[in-house]
Symmetry: C2
Subunit: 410 residues, 2 copies
């Protein structure tokens, strides 16, 4: 391994990231929802730069950008995404895409290179229309009916209309050629403070948690808030509040060391100040990298619902609306990232799970996959103030490109 | 007192109520929001019928209908409202207006009558744009600035725009002439089951509860639902749920025998399934007819908020956004209703407070006021299935007209 080579152009990496920040800028971050005008401009920006990295560019029928090569030899796929959450940060997504672009520019131009880096930007990792629609399309896990049903969670606009308006309707969808790639590598900001607080440069991802999501619905009796005595009320909102508190008390006794759970949305129906809510609904999420833990917690959730219903005031229904199998990252990929970090960043790495979902979990279903994290200032994520020190961005790029070389060398 | 007179035309009362049900009909009820087209049609319907009751009709600049007389002698004001809650019942409001119209038709035509019944339909008792805007305008407790600020709670449309679109902009607002009336009488369905379950015909209202309303806001820290460990979270939604449960546990130890409290709306911010809510808000209401009880409960609420804030995870702010002083109904009015019930309904009456707010509480600030209730099937209220037996409606009208005669006789 020629460990003394680098050729990573740190200034070029930072300039590219700032160019993408300039498209759909919002304060120091970006507002670039999936298939919005600034998202499409970002895809075109990337497609225009891929030929200089020795790749043929294509924007496919679901909004993925793919840079592919016809050269023989081993190929590594690398990438991330270019859309953002609403009014969010500049690095969540673009960092991994620009690292992949830089790796392709450096490695694909080396006469002595062992193979080729191919680049991908997956559409809608941020879930405006669904769950990992772009990468799922690429691995063959997305049907035309899934696309027909997809709607923007903010505006309600259908994905078909969005694809048509942006000029992508009717294009073929790119799909993975089995055996083409030695694997998939993705970089991302950490979205937590482990690296920053430990003075570390690189997080070596061991697994990506599964996300299970539930709609929990409480049915009571809607009534007048002035004329209905407290002792005869069947208040669905109060039943929901009790359920949230009970989760907080009982889950810690059954969870794993890294389990997290969140009630992100609560709706009372009809939601008027003078009406006792007859119906209430909460969106509830559990994340863990152990399916056994999730299964145990889901059973607990259903037991709690049955106990509440049995008390007679309100009935509770638990509906699972999203299932995400935890994804293990490939062991050889983890070793390659650690070895690259020894050479490029003084070995300042730590193995850690990813609490957030990433396209790597989808790619991992059809090929070896790995992920590395770079530090995030204050652990801020999904907010326009999200940031990483320039020096950490460049160090991450060095480790990323070195890792690509090691993986292509096999 | 010529107790053997009646002249109430039960069929006419039922026909009028059904005519109003036909304007803005929804299932067996009505959808007649304040200043909507069907509401305005209902106001015009009433205005057209007032001359036959010996009254001059006026629709004023806030959407009140007033039927007034130039005859000398004592005058009693009677009425209720014609708009409805959204997709609600046919009697909540119209019953009291048609009883008042019937009383005017019967009494104002009697040569030997002791005085005149004047009729009012107060705009927006149901609070689409505010709180008792019509009756408050009449008693002189509503400024032009209040109207400028009023917006439809569903659509956000300003009241000024709504008044202009319906053709009422620029009209003068009718205001009470002090000393003109011996008092104000209003009838309403009970919105509870006390009368029905007791086999009673008439509820004699002793007081109307005060409604205090609060916005309770929880501030925590918005964060990623996957990457933020449970032990460092500052989840504003969970703090809110704990607060609701704590209210339910601590209020019963400080409340009065008839106090009710309700959390009608909960909002988590940003309300996304993968984001820990950084901010949460609840609309909370307390009703009682004892100001001391309300004051004690508000103090408890503020203590609880301070205790939660002191625990350090989330801060809680309690903001009172509505204050309603309890209103006592006039003793002589209560006696007149009871005496009329002895003659017209076999004395099947009971004294009871009103847990719901009514325009009578506003009129009570400037003149003696009284209210009577008729039974409501199943106690259903603010729902399109709200209903009362025809026989109970007619009996209520007999008692109402008889009460008017007694009050005019002094």
């Amino acid at each position: 391994m020629p460990d003394n080579r680098s050729y990573v152009d740190g200034a070029r990496v930072l300039a590219d990231l700032n160019a993408l920040r300039g498209i759909g800028a919002y304060k120091t971050g970006v507002h670039k929802p999936t298939l919005s005008e600034p998202h499409m401009q970002s895809l075109q920006w990337l497609a225009q730069r891929l030929p200089a990295a020795g790749l043929d560019a294509e924007i496919d029928g679901i909004g993925n950008v793919l840079g592919t090569s016809t050269k023989p030899g081993p190929k590594l796929l690398a990438g991330s995404h270019l859309e953002s959450q609403n009014y969010a940060g500049w690095l969540d997504g673009p960092l991994g895409v620009i690292y992949a672009l830089e790796a392709a520019r450096v490695i694909n131009a080396e006469p002595e290179a062992n193979g080729t880096v191919e680049v991908a930007a997956w559409c809608d990792e941020e879930g405006h229309f669904g769950s990992f629609l772009g990468s799922r399309s690429y691995v063959g896990a997305l049907t035309e009916a899934d696309i027909d049903a997809a709607r923007d969670r903010s505006s309600g606009r259908s994905m078909r209309d969005a694809l048509r308006d942006i000029g992508l309707a009717g294009r073929p969808r790119a799909t993975a050629e089995r055996g083409r790639h030695v694997g998939y590598l993705e970089a991302h900001i950490e979205q937590g403070q482990t690296l920053e607080s430990g003075g570390l440069a690189i997080g070596v991802v061991t697994s990506i948690v599964g996300i299970w999501q539930y709609r929990i619905t409480f049915e009571g009796e809607q009534n007048h808030a002035g004329t209905t005595r407290m002792d005869v009320r069947r208040d669905a909102g109060l039943a929901l509040a009790r359920f949230c508190v009970e989760i907080d008390e009982r889950f810690p006794r059954s969870c794993g060391p890294r389990t997290v759970w969140t009630t992100g949305r609560i709706t009372l129906d009809p939601g008027a100040p003078s009406i006792i809510p007859g119906r209430a609904e909460m969106l509830f999420q559990i994340r863990d990298d152990e399916p056994d833990v999730i299964n145990r917690l889901e059973a607990l959730l259903r037991d709690m619902a049955a106990e509440t219903s049995a008390r007679g005031r309100c009935t509770v229904a638990v509906e699972r609306i999203r299932t995400g199998t935890p994804a293990l990252m490939n062991a050889a990929f983890q070793q390659a990232i650690e070895a690259a970090c020894v050479v490029r960043a003084g070995g300042r790495s730590i193995r850690m799970p990813s609490g957030a979902g990433h396209d790597a979990q989808v790619l991992a279903t059809i090929m070896p996959a790995g992920m590395l994290f770079v530090p995030s200032i204050g652990g801020v994520s999904h907010h326009w103030s999200e940031n990483t020190e320039d020096a950490d961005i460049v160090t991450g790029a060095e480790v990323f490109v070195d890792t690509c070389r090691r993986l292509l060398a096999g």
